[in-house]
Symmetry: D2
Subunit: 409 residues, 4 copies
């Protein structure tokens, strides 16, 4: 049995667990040390630390304090790891907490974080997904059932001070271009809700004041939300501080490319079993700036796709220059429109794109002025036939069930 280095009690606040933290800072003390070649288990909270409940109201999604996220387990120190090394991490397995076999997906209110399609779905909504072994389905979205492509949304090593300063500086510069924007352009440090692990007192306060928020992916990896970084894959992380300081959290039972619903994938509390080793000096040897990885040999193998195209002309007909973000948004909107013909509400369709293993491809980025993006929807996840045919769509979903919605207060 591999050792569980960090345990999590879901009935306890993550702030009371000293092996948890929710900011990036080089001063966060190592929670546990391992040796190269070791394998071990870390338990994790869901990214909100339990703020979202398994119920039929979206009030919790509407009201969650996003300055508290993400609650990470770690940092784990690896003996001998030095700045410039690559930390090789094998994801030997990942799972849900046995006492918490469910996850959530939702849309934040536009006033509280928003999401990819926040102009179209501006209010808080939620769907709950139950896990049945390797599979999941939702009482709020009938007609879909699929195997989980389980992965951590957030994992990476601690930054050193120079990198941390770079992050804070460039993100603040962006915020300064439009500081009143809702949702904001980026999130600055928020000391009040910072959880700096075992750090206490003045040291804690200093680190909390400059601790980087965990929301964006950055050079170290971090909140990449890459669905393919899944159980069975191998990742090569840049090391910036002695020992590396590997932290992980935000486990997902499944997610589509883009994690377009923001709140988020199918979010869950769980555990991850990893093995670590080192490539000494690997960053220079291989010219590595961001993590690289190899996909798992064992993944859900849906193959029959319906593929939707989108171009960088926005919903109002405005022309944008090679903007993949807008092109992908159009592809997603096209898919939602299609699924509505089978009886889904727009919100249900949007949630399917956020949770199921859909692919988002950058198909063309040079044919001025239009980028072209494609959204790959696996048809096999549906319990009915969604193929186009001459006789037109058959409405398989009656519409009697929908996702809870909580209007802004």
């Amino acid at each position: 049995m591999p050792e569980t280095l960090i345990k999590v009690d879901l009935s306890q606040s993550p702030y009371e667990n000293e092996n948890i933290h929710n900011r990036w800072h080089p001063d966060i003390p190592i929670a546990a040390w391992v040796k190269p070649g070791d394998d071990f288990v870390l338990e994790t909270y869901d990214w909100t630390g339990g703020a979202i409940k398994n119920d039929d109201s979206a009030d919790d999604v509407r009201d969650v304090d996003l300055s508290t996220v993400h609650f990470l387990s770690g940092p784990v120190g690896v003996e001998g790891a030095e700045p410039g090394d690559l930390l090789v991490v094998d994801f030997l397995d990942i799972g849900a907490k046995p006492d918490s076999l469910w996850g959530f997906n939702g849309f934040f209110s536009k006033k509280n974080g928003g999401g990819f399609l926040t102009e179209h779905f501006p209010q808080a909504q939620k769907s709950i997904w139950d896990f049945h072994g390797m599979f999941t389905s939702s009482r709020h979205i009938p007609g879909v059932n699929f195997a989980g492509l389980i992965h951590p949304g957030l994992i990476g090593c601690l930054p050193d001070q120079a990198m941390l300063d770079t992050w804070n500086k460039r993100e603040q510069a962006l915020i300064d271009t439009n500081p009143e924007r809702v949702p904001p352009l980026a999130n600055p440090p928020a000391p009040k809700t910072a959880h700096m692990g075992r750090l206490q007192g003045a040291a804690r306060d200093k680190a909390a004041a400059e601790g980087a928020r965990t929301v964006p992916p950055r050079e170290h990896g971090g909140n990449c939300d890459i669905k393919d970084l899944s159980r069975g894959s191998r990742v090569f992380f840049p090391v910036y501080v002695p020992g590396g300081g590997l932290s992980v959290g935000d486990l997902h039972f499944s997610q589509g490319d883009g994690e377009i619903t923001f709140c988020g994938a199918i979010e869950m509390a769980g555990w991850i079993h990893m093995r670590v080793s080192l490539i000494k000096g690997g960053m220079a040897k291989y010219g590595i700036r961001n993590p690289i990885f190899k996909p798992s040999p064992i993944t859900p193998n849906y193959k029959d796709y319906l593929i939707f195209e989108g171009i960088s002309v926005d919903e109002g007909g405005g022309q944008h220059y090679l903007d993949v973000h807008i092109a992908y948004r159009q592809a997603c909107l096209n898919a939602i429109e299609y699924l509505k013909k089978f009886g889904y509400s727009g919100a249900q369709a949007y949630s399917i794109l956020g949770t199921a293993p859909v692919q988002g491809h950058i198909s063309g980025v040079v044919d001025i002025p239009n980028a072209c993006a494609t959204l790959w929807l696996p048809t096999e996840i549906f319990e009915f036939d969604i193929q186009p045919q001459a006789s037109g769509p058959v409405k398989a979903i009656s519409g009697g069930v929908d996702m809870p919605l909580s209007p802004d207060l």
Copy 2:
């Protein structure tokens, strides 16, 4: 034997072939009529109509007149097709012209079109790829050999006048924001080099004056450059004019997601064997705005990938808001840096990303302020081992061979 409806003689200028056109306009006369259920073959020029030669100089890439592209075969009319229908097209097979078993890939000069990485590779370069049955390799880029994922870069139905007007209007509006930009933001009509098929005289001149350029993908599909729209796939195209008016060209032997080199994929002259049918009123039935498609059951099946991450922080450290274009550029630059460790020049590495079946995924688009994109490089296309290992990379490419470069004049 299926009938070849349109033939192409590579020794003849495409301007002399009345079944070819290089603009989109509803007035372009139908070149040939077919019935639903028919299958037929169309031959095509390469996208430049033969301007790029199988030699070891990039002068032709530097000097090509881009206002002439793309030379398309068609339009083919389908009896009974009416606006609002979906034209279902099966790509039964696609191949190179037997007398032209090679293709080209290149980078345009920044002064003449540029490309995705034009700031890094600002001058004209070219690589020639020979076809060996299903496989291809280049005398300018040693050590790679892969199966072709053959597809048309450009295919779609004629727009009606209203859609054409929309295109011209919105693209001109973008150009007007920075009309002096090099390369330009978009391409307005260019009557001088327009080839309007069989249209002659005043009718030709009127149509040429407003005929939309073929460069960008648009609502009808067009120059989508989607590598997965390959032989064996089925596409559902919106119909805007009676008969549909299906045109096709710009065949690619292989391409990576994004077609990042712009000039372009592995470009070739060839033929395409298609079957057509109709879903009457399909646009409304299925809520279709852009084409949708189903991938082929028969594609190159490379599976072992090395995956590079990129975030929306630019080369100068500037922070951008959820910009997938920049994130993908960083992922591509990361992959190029990696490949250079094995002995490739930057240009060779860039060309590999443009030609081989690499995937580009939109991995995260909500974690403000950073988008996260991933570049999936199939390791099996290399004739040597590119996996990271503790001992560091082994230089497999000696550097004695490189891609021709033609400096700007």
Copy 3:
């Protein structure tokens, strides 16, 4: 949390657990009842009920009493199931017992069961495989590491009396053709070691006297040892008795097609999470005689194979008529010879073929007089390169480690 209907204590003899049985008979009492739509967990012993230990001696393999196998968990009754129905079983998940994260593979002595290559490996040998999350490796066989294709070797419904009688009659008829053969042609009932679940006294003795041995696959499924009947798959079982009476055991962490080592796959104690439903009258509706199934969407996805051919000419040069068994044996022997060139002992190579997800295809069965079978060896399971190349094989395995062997006494 799904309910665990049957628990297993590995420190207790399976004979003491009344929810276990090791023979097939309609009189074995139902251990637990469920309803269509229910999902539930059954724990299982390894097939030998704990006779094989995690150590470095093959004495236990040599000495095991094969009349005791296989220890099955069940039977589970499904309310409403009647003879002629199809029992639909979804394998929602399968795993090893958390307190027993290892498995064994071995060859029986030719005097005690033998195996597919018993003439070549006539003595007892054993390898132990440790589980690291989804992966496994063996201290007795260096250089291989692969993901588990976890599946039950043995599962099926209780026969009715008529079917049981048919089985006993036809197998005894085969035994009678050569009753002294070692190993025997088939196994007749063996009342002494029979475990008939909760059945006691005279009823137990009667059933034990005619209870069918669990060794062969039969019409109901049973000991099929099909590696692809894995977690995530859906199986349709014929029902012969009211309630069905579903029993399961002999879990495998991984196995090659054919389970050629007989002892067996990577054998383990574990648990299986299933959901059941019914197709009323399904046997007649679909003309079903043996189970049918659909493979899992989530399986290890090794793709690069080296494929060995074999024909039905035996090791002595003798010609056999379309004998696939002999053809597959030759393909296996060819693969073993190949692997020995890289430093493996014959026994290690044999064990790899028995445990890794190798495929065995019936490639040709009509080209008289030779059948042709192919053995597909996934190259990605090796930690070194096993591809053929002009310079010949590089010996990657030093030979210092081998599988324990226990000579016959």
Copy 4:
């Protein structure tokens, strides 16, 4: 353009083409020489040399003289190849003759060759398959349409005299055990219909008298009928005579594992584009006795299977000892019975199993006394849904169309 070394005129008898032969013998003169590294094209007849016609009568299948098959193109000599080498052959591409875009599948009469299920289908029947680019369908079997997994049924190097003698001796020994059997156990030399390439006069007569028939697969490969030895794969052939002497024929557009219908796959005339190289002394270096190969990166990728089990109890209830041949026959019969519920005739279902890319796996070969084989039927080749469901099968095939049958005379 690769050179076409051997051309075939389908209007000419293969006996008139001196680059064709239909027996194996070391004295057959090399038809063309190439160098290692060369690539070239060989055209081929269908295996019967044009005896079967594209019509609606099975008379030709009933009446064909099987002593004439298979007509092979070659032998091709490779400079420098010596006995003991491995001849590495890349299948760069394979296709149908452009003037012959169709193929045939059939069952021989039991009196003239028979087949795998000859007891069930004892009379001559035929289906014609038309090729539509990469796809095929049959006017005799509605409702199926699939992509071709194109491959040569027969390819290998010339035997030396010692190997030839071994073949003739061991096959005659088998024949001698039951010389009157219909169909025969094996085929002895048949000088009258032998075509020995360019060999003439007494030399021809001597070679014809002992030339091995091409029907069975043997050590050199030969008539393996392995569906996965397809375009894009790489094969390593043992070399027995100076120059190797590579011959090929019997091209198949598609075939199921086992080629169970014998006549045969979807048989076609065509061409194959190959590249050759050598591994000197490779047979000893790698311990090679039979060819080995690597599968293609580009194959039809059907993934959703319905899997049928079969055990080695025959149709009369007789018990056989680990007989995979019988087990696979039962799996095939089970699949045929299933398909009949959707409206197919037994003959149509049998033909689908012989032509479509079905897999046949040797699932269990140690669980005495029953072997277990599985037949994997890809559901995606059907134009209607063949999944089992609670409501039972829907008859999609009306039965108005069937395969021509020609009773024995």
